[in-house]
């Protein structure tokens, strides 16, 4: 691909008509980069029937163009058809950069795409900038969050990046923005489809997603036993947040792995992270250090978690957590 490549693309991650928050965050960020470099932001929407997705909202959130690719094989995310179609679009329009949300499908598609296009990919970025000469400059954590690396793709285009959830603010929709919807021509394109999706099972059951929650309340070994996690859950519910856990609590079988925060679990970056009975091991910190506000409740004043906590309460979680739940319920009623 040539150096003349232009415009910043954002892949629209959607399911059942609902667009993922990280897509909106990426649109907001792309808008900022595009404004600084006189480029357009394109929202790239793959679907079997794009009618279910609100394209006006994509434009209000920063897109100049919504590029729609419709095909029966794009009914649900699968690596083969998505890679084939996106490759075709990239070759037809030659974008300069392409931002994909670091969701389970985005993290599967982006590296496959990078290999097919033989271009550079910066994974799970926490920030993206635009440089007049270098184009996309990506900031991503390495070594379990102990290092922040700046990754560049000097020559190859498009420059690919996956963006971690909640790394950029969600834009306020501006309904006065205008843009156009363009239909991509897929006629004659051969689309492979080797892996079949038999079933998609949701296990969260309507709970707030850990990575998307504004408030995360986590419990550790200090919670003591599985039944006591009801206290943590009650506080999370009172905050309308999600429940997390340390690996010690997960390994003990008190909470399912899906709740684990840390180096070998999920990375969260909520507005408030409340750690209850968690010592603050470096592998745990790797998953929550970038939260805006950290609250630690721990009975040991020397626990390392206090070194990163914005607010610390030295005390017994069995006393503090129920009081806190009540106080929050009272204050937010």
């Amino acid at each position: 691909m040539t150096q003349e490549a232009k415009n910043i693309w954002v892949l629209v991650d959607h399911r059942g008509g609902k667009v993922a928050n990280v897509t909106l965050e990426a649109l907001g960020l792309a808008r900022k980069l595009a404004d600084a470099s006189s480029q357009e932001v394109w929202a790239v929407l793959l679907a079997d029937d794009a009618g279910s997705v609100d394209t006006e909202r994509l434009i209000a959130c920063g897109a100049d163009v919504v590029l729609v690719a419709e095909h029966p094989k794009l009914d649900a995310y699968r690596d083969d058809p998505y890679t084939d179609v996106v490759t075709h679009l990239v070759k037809s329009y030659e974008p300069a950069a392409f931002i994909i949300g670091a969701t389970s499908s985005g993290k599967s598609l982006a590296p496959r795409l990078a290999a097919r296009l033989r271009t550079g990919l910066a994974s799970e970025c926490v920030d993206l900038e635009w440089d007049g000469e270098k184009g996309l400059v990506a900031v991503r954590p390495m070594y379990g969050g102990n290092v922040l690396a700046t990754v560049e793709t000097p020559e190859a285009r498009p420059q690919l990046a996956t963006l971690r959830m909640k790394s950029a603010p969600r834009p306020e929709p501006d309904t006065s923005r205008t843009g156009r919807v363009e239909k991509a021509d897929l006629s004659g394109l051969e689309i492979t489809d080797r892996v079949k999706l038999l079933e998609a099972v949701e296990t969260g059951g309507g709970e707030v997603k850990l990575e998307e929650a504004d408030i995360v309340v986590s419990g550790g070994r200090g919670v003591g036993k599985p039944e006591n996690f009801a206290l943590i859950k009650a506080l999370a519910d009172a905050c309308r947040g999600a429940m997390g856990a340390s690996r010690a609590a997960v390994d003990a079988g008190w909470v399912p792995y899906a709740h684990q925060v840390g180096q070998t679990g999920k990375t969260v970056s909520p507005k408030v992270y409340i750690a209850c009975g968690i010592s603050g091991a470096i592998q745990h910190l790797a998953g929550m250090k970038s939260s805006d506000i950290i609250v630690a409740i721990n009975k040991n004043p020397d626990a390392p978690i206090f070194k990163v906590a914005t607010y610390g309460i030295v005390g017994d979680l069995f006393e503090i957590v129920p009081l806190l739940t009540e106080e929050i319920k009272k204050e937010t009623a």
Partner: protein, 257 residues
């Protein structure tokens, strides 16, 4: 299966002058995610009589991890190494691994970890799949069925899981949930000590020199820095009731409640 050796990541130091991460002197271990990949491969072998070959790209020290893999139950190990491979980014690494796997020949299933603990890009597995033209399934948490030319598996998603089926050969990347890795036995370790591990370089692989090392790597790491320090904040004093009231007042003042 593809195995990477990584440094223990808890105490990495940054070499400011060289603008790189200084990993000298750190304990080197099998990438934790790759222990799940290896365990899964060995379980398949135990159930089906398949053979397990471990491929790793890296310097001499990697032999120690390959021996550990043999002691766990792998049948063969190959190391890919050449001065020309140094400075390979995930794309170049995937290219090299794919050439190594191609040279090994006959394979039904390639298993990678979901990501490496050091660079943690998660890019190499899908890169190898693309390079070999294979279908892929990432973030596999369970293999439900495996038979001649066919696999059915569960893939972890953000809010649950999917059940997928597809043809073999295929490349999969696995998550921690898939199994509980065994430890290498002492006897196995003793035996593995005596094994000579073949080392294949650029010419053994018949690899294109322009696709390895810096020339085959579209990305460069321009800078490494420690994350912005987070200083300890304030300890809230008082009786439990007072502590809780103060905390809620502070959170409300910052409009986060």
């Amino acid at each position: 299966m593809c195995m990477k050796q990584v440094p223990e990541t808890t105490e990495v130091k940054i070499d400011q002058a060289q603008n790189r991460v200084d990993t000298g002197g750190l304990t080197r271990i099998i990438n934790p995610y790759d222990t799940y990949a290896l365990e899964e491969a060995i379980r398949i072998k135990e159930n089906s009589g398949a053979t397990v070959t471990v491929v790793s790209m890296g310097p001499d020290e990697v032999d120690q991890s390959l021996r550990e893999a043999l002691a766990m139950g792998a049948d063969e190990a190959v190391r890919l190494s050449d001065p020309a491979f140094e400075g390979s980014d995930p794309l170049a690494t995937a290219y090299i691994l794919a050439r190594g796997i191609e040279k090994l020949g006959d394979y039904d299933l390639i298993i990678c970890g979901r990501q490496a603990m050091d660079g943690s890009s998660g890019n190499v597995g899908p890169g190898v799949a693309e390079e070999l033209g294979l279908p892929q399934v990432t973030f596999v948490r369970k293999i439900e069925e495996l038979k001649e030319g066919y696999i059915r598996l569960q893939r972890m998603t953000d809010d649950g899981y999917e059940v997928l089926e597809g043809p073999l050969p295929m490349l999969i990347t696995v998550v921690k949930e898939i199994n509980e890795p065994r430890l290498a036995s002492l006897k196995g370790l003793m035996k593995a000590k005596r094994v000579t591990i073949p080392v294949w370089g650029l010419s053994d692989l018949g690899a294109d020199p322009s696709r390895v090392g810096p020339s085959g790597s579209p990305t460069v790491v321009a800078k490494v820095a420690p994350p912005p320090p987070r200083s300890g904040g304030e300890i809230i004093e008082g009786t439990p009731e007072e502590q809780v009231k103060t905390l809620v007042a502070k959170l409300k003042a910052q409009k986060v409640l």
